[in-house]
Amino acid sequence: MSAGGNRTQTAVGASISIAPLDHVAGDVAGLLGNFLFDLLGMFYPRQICSKANVVVIELVTNVMEHCSIRDGALRVDLKIDGDELMITVANPASEDEFKAVRDRFTIIANAEDPRKLLADTVYRRRIDKAKGGLGLMRLTAESKFKLTAEYEQGFLVVKALFPMRGFA
């Protein structure tokens, strides 16, 4: 191993595709999240690795629980360097499904205090144990990701961006 250089400037990229989604029988979200956690652990502090782990698990779990087009592909892309951590998760979706997700993203993105939004939502929904959107809220409130959702050629593409300032 080279002794020189700043390891937290290391550029790492990973792209994983699984198709069809219907063939997934186990905890694919956990497997991918833990793999990327371990991989990034060679170069980056635990806190950064945990952010990647959480975002992959929450976004891939969303796909596995809500994607209705089960003969399509799941794509996960990770890029990290000294400037930013970017994770992209894409799955086939109808335009109506995309619009529903985009509306949810708009609420989260417009929240003045993402942590308060998460707290209020958790307390409100606790009575009937409703889920829906808690995972996305935690990514902004807890992990400080900037989330965007786009519709590209029949795919819902969710991007989670974390600026690396202060870590690299």
């Binding site: 186990g26 905890d27 979200a29 956990g30 502090p45 635990r46 806190q47 945990s50 952010k51 782990n53 959480v54 698990i57 929450e58 779990t61 629980e65 942590r115 998460l118 707290a119 958790v122 307390y123 606790r126 144990k129 889920k131 808690l134 995972g135 935690r138 409130a141 807890e142 992990s143 400080k144």
Partner: protein
Amino acid sequence: MKVLTYGEIMDGGLSVFHSVAKLDDHHLILTFEGVIRVDNPYRYLHTYLEELAKVLPRQSVTETTMDFVKMRFCNSNGFYVIMDIVDAVYNLVPGRVTVRRIADDDWQCETLPILLNLSEEHIAARTNFEDVKAP
């Protein structure tokens, strides 16, 4: 040290999470270890919650430690079950509650306080954190 009760989540034939309630003299200790990532954690932990409701009121407890240091991950599916376990402690035993957590862990420093319901003054007044380095 006396084990009062415990709960466990199995996934794919493996134990992925367990919580143990122990009594050391008058000190109640709840440990949380592993990850909660399954779709419906209540399926595995409802008996544990029922047991906590039964055994905790019968104990003479003066202080409690809830130790999350070895709980590496909790996805959003696990939020409510953690809240129910924590509520059992705050509602059923008196005294100070020390929450052990990892100092630089996002979920334990940002979301866990929400699940503890620290916005309630009477809970916040009983609670202090012990921040430790990641094991």
